[in-house]
């Protein structure tokens, strides 16, 4: 008899809970809206100073070094550099980390992929990315520039130094290679 009473009690309780879920009482609601979610953007700008004299170009999405004659008739052991500046003009309040990469657009001697080197440093020579061949910059770039750029922050100059291996020889004579240097600004969370 006691067992039967207990069973009935349990069933009654469950029913009561279900009933509670559909219980209606006085209510009212207030609405906040319409809510608008407008996304901003990431916007990185670059300026270049070919002559390294502090006279940099206007901020832009792309730029071209202005030295038509300077980088021709090059030879093993040659090196030269230019300065670049970067600015975070994002509309969103985001900080960007910068990953440099290389996109080789044309070449006539494949050895140049491995005999032309690039290194990026601060103007005092510190904070080097390391000196790597264009092939490495193209295929395995993983070194971010320092510092990162908060919204509206600009930094520079970074010294972009190019050199040709002293171990290279006649296999690269009369050759040329053309490439784009790409700076990818990536949002930091």
């Amino acid at each position: 008899m006691k067992k039967i009473l207990l069973s009935i009690f349990a069933i009654t309780t469950i029913i009561s809970l279900v009933a509670g879920a559909v219980y209606a009482a006085f209510s009212d609601k207030a609405t906040s809206g319409p809510n608008t979610f407008a996304t901003g953007n990431a916007d990185l700008k670059i300026a270049i100073d070919t002559d390294k004299d502090g006279q940099k170009s206007a901020w832009d999405d792309s730029t071209t070094p202005a030295f038509p004659e300077r980088w021709t008739n090059l030879y093993p052991g040659w090196e030269d550099s230019y300065w670049i500046y970067l600015k975070n003009e994002s509309s969103s309040p985001i900080t960007l980390k910068i990953l440099p990469t290389v996109d080789i657009t044309s070449y006539d001697i494949a050895d140049l992929w491995d005999d032309v080197f690039m290194e990026i440093t601060w103007s005092d020579g510190s904070h080097s990315t390391g000196k790597y061949s264009l092939r490495v910059w193209r295929e395995n770039s993983s070194t971010y520039l320092e510092p990162t750029l908060a919204k509206d922050a600009e930094a520079g100059p970074w010294v972009v130094n190019f050199s040709i291996s002293e171990n290279a020889g006649n296999e690269i004579k009369d050759g040329s290679i053309i490439f784009d240097l790409i700076f990818d600004g990536i949002q930091i969370i």
Binding site: I84, T105, V160
Partner: protein, 193 residues
């Protein structure tokens, strides 16, 4: 466990804002090293051979070798490299008709050659045997080499060399009737670092 795995996959596919800027059309164009030579009978700084594969005929004929015999000739070298590099010339005796024959074996240590750079303080490695000149490349100018078109008139700098040959005074009868013809010298200009 399942929840953790899903979280990991989700993290890997998160996309953040990013933007790129580009330095376009960076061009690196190589030049050349170009050493030219000439041998003219009037020993002038002209008449250079623009084909680097041509052999220089010194017209240095040594008939009837005998101990103490000496002869000499001249060549000019100039640096007209496309790249702004100085070149240090090296030379090596690379061929002769009987380079591997009996006559070579008898003469290689009895004939000596001396090359002097008249435009570089008479730089010279002194009298050396044919065997010595054959064994490896030897520099014939100082370490500064021949500069490239340094003069304001755009004329490439050139160096004048004398090439002297002699038979050792103590050579004996073994060299009688022996000869070397088609003695060829390879000259290489190496970039001065």
């Amino acid at each position: 466990m399942i929840a953790l795995t899903i979280a990991g996959v989700t993290s890997a596919t998160i996309a953040y804002f990013n933007d790129t800027v580009t330095v376009t059309g960076v061009t690196i164009a190589m030049g050349t090293a170009d050493l030219e030579s000439n041998h003219t009978t009037d020993n002038t700084d002209s008449g250079y051979d623009t084909n680097s594969t041509d052999l220089i005929d010194l017209n240095l004929t040594i008939p009837g070798l005998y101990p103490d015999f000496e002869a000499s000739g001249n060549i000019w070298l100039r640096n007209i490299s496309g790249s702004p590099i100085d070149l240090r010339p090296y030379t090596r005796l690379t061929a002769a008709t009987s380079l591997n024959g009996d006559d070579w074996s008898l003469l290689k240590d009895q004939i000596e050659i001396k090359i002097t750079d008249l435009n570089d303080g008479n730089y010279s490695l002194g009298w050396q045997t044919l065997e010595w000149w054959n064994s490896e490349l030897r520099p014939i100018s100082n370490t500064t080499g021949i500069t490239v078109e340094a003069s304001s008139d755009g004329v490439a700098n050139s160096h004048n060399y004398t090439i002297e040959a002699r038979v050792k005074s103590d050579a004996g009868n073994d060299i009688q009737g022996k000869s070397l013809t088609g003695v060829t010298w390879e000259i290489i200009g190496e970039q001065v670092q």
